[in-house]
Amino acid sequence: MLRLMIAALAGGLFGAGLLISGMTDPAKVRGFLDVFGTWDPTLAFVMGGAILPMAIAWRVAARRKRAVTGHDLPNPPQGPVDGRLIAGSAMFGAGWGLAGLCPGPAMASLGFGGPAFVTFFVAMVTGMAVFKAWDGRR
């Protein structure tokens, strides 16, 4: 039960943060990526603001064995930088630049964004399902 309450708290805070920060505004995202146009640095503040508490959290996690709910804290593997990481991130970035939406803000916009945002979300989930089918058959 505590686990679900923490998930709700984290999801709600994430959604509110995405809205307040401007990440759910595609024009703002485009403005940040538009380095050679009229660059809007807002998203750099978002990124910096988000990394700060998380950097502290990783330091706390390194000194503890278990999370509040008793589960073992993840010891994230330092995996290799491979072709999948680069190709996948390159595809993701292309889509992010075209629509000004990444997965978190796309989901956060579902309740207020309107049909264009729902279209993007459905296409995104379809892309995830296509990957699953493709990856499973390899």
Partner: protein
Amino acid sequence: MESDWIAGLIGGLMIGGAAAIYLLGNARIMGASGIISGLLDVAATPAWAERAIFAAALIATPAILVRSGMGDASPAIAGTGVMILAGLLVGFGTRLGNGCTSGHGVCGISRMSRRGIVATLTYLLTGGIAVIVARMLGWS
């Protein structure tokens, strides 16, 4: 402009705070693309319920804020065809690369993960190129 930066910083601290709560509370890494694609595995496991609750709160909270006048809905910048293409790229790409802005960007960079840093530099680069290409093609 400066007020946008302050809002960005405050919103960013909230995003990072949420990721910190998820890590230290539930021992989970807060990656939006992983959580969304995990919902496709419709098996009634505790992990699925946790993702579903996270997603429900993620959708409901900003919707309530917008509806009560404490935030603004923003217009899309692309037409339907481009939205579909972009969505497919984001969906397939985040699974192939195993992460997006929250997982690689926020959770990866904050622990100086090489994969997170390389992924973030890659999607920033192709994102910048996509903005230029979209403008040249008259897509946005």
